[in-house]
Subunit: 218 residues, 2 copies
């Protein structure tokens, strides 16, 4: 019995552990994707694209494991919310990985041309910083279940939303001198970062749901 309970608590811990590993891999992905974008680095872009398979694998394996724990252990309360919420958190993290890949693919598509006009580099650098911080904060909130960190995540998300609006204005201003293709590229890229932030907020809310049991609101 003792042995089974130990197995059970290790199984639950492994969910959290895998989610934290996913945040770390997504953190690397978005950091490298931003570098690739700023430096038009094809090799780095390809590394982000190739690296996504591992995130997908962890997601799929984690899901199967959550299914098995639910079936064999019939968890209750917080444990049940972790098992089922864990699946949804993994989905969000997997989507964040995809968004990093979208950025990297944009770099690959435009290479050897530049991906973004040089006068927007500073803004994208700031977006990349906020995206990196938000995913590492997400990892901390998943690991510690310290729901106070949700405020920090919200503030990085606000930064991403603000920069997204700024880029949108830049693209539509009369001063825009880079043409239609660059306008579309910038809009899509900016949107990828903005969506990346939204998913991090969703993860934070999920963690609050696991901890408190309060109904999950989007």
């Amino acid at each position: 019995m003792k042995c089974m309970r130990e197995g059970y608590s290790q199984q639950l811990e492994s969910i959290t552990h895998d989610l934290v590993v996913m945040t770390e891999l997504v953190g690397v992905a978005i950091t490298e994707a931003t570098s690739a974008l700023l430096d038009d680095n094809l090799e780095l872009a390809q590394s982000v694209i190739d690296g996504d398979a591992r995130i997908d694998q962890i997601n799929a394996a984690l899901e199967e494991r959550c299914f098995k724990i639910a079936a064999l252990q019939a968890p209750m309360g917080t444990d049940l919310r972790l098992v089922m919420g864990g699946i949804k958190i993994a989905t969000s993290l997997e989507r964040m990985g995809d968004l990093a890949v979208h950025i990297a693919k944009q770099v690959r598509l435009r290479y050897p041309s530049v991906s973004i006009p040089s006068d927007l580099s500073a803004t994208f650098m700031e977006m990349g910083e906020a995206a990196k911080k938000i995913v590492f904060a997400t990892g901390r909130v998943v690991e510690s279940r310290d729901t106070d960190l949700a405020d920090e995540i919200k503030s990085y998300d606000d930064t991403l939303d603000r920069l997204h609006r700024e880029l949108f204005s830049a693209v539509l201003s009369d001063d825009w001198a880079h043409g239609v293709e660059a306008a579309i590229d910038v809009t899509l890229l900016s949107r990828f970062y903005e969506r990346f932030g939204d998913h991090a907020v969703t993860v934070a809310r999920r963690v609050i749901h696991i901890v408190t049991g309060e109904p999950y609101s989007k």
Copy 2:
């Protein structure tokens, strides 16, 4: 005991039932969003935006119910896959509803101006048709678990991908005469439809997973 088993099978049926209702509501949403887009109809756009709350509510209620079924009934095999897969299918459908809202919000943003250049109306009409068909096919696959329908879903998705590429080419061609803002609008709108199709494919794959138990691949 008999009574409890009846209750259990009704609970499982209610998951499928709610997912089918969600596909119907999402079907209405994408149909109305497309009409609003083609006719620059603000009222219809607002109706799509307001109607999304009901889809969100069903999603949240369904998720809570799946949690409870998992906790109280400890389902196994196909039932377990339905309970846990149901949550993920609901997430995809809820996202499809959001994409219809994104389209409607774009109409509201540009109103009383037109949302799309008139020479692209036919293409967006075709996208709207394919999106409507894909979501109704999704409803049928969820209800009947007839995995052969997955091929039909795939073919609508191929149509959406093709139209998305066509619009992208139009926007970037030398003939494009509608300026940067319209180019961005068209690209984003087209992407919303394309993503809509992707989520439908994900739902179909989830249903196959429920039926066959084969590992879920994205």
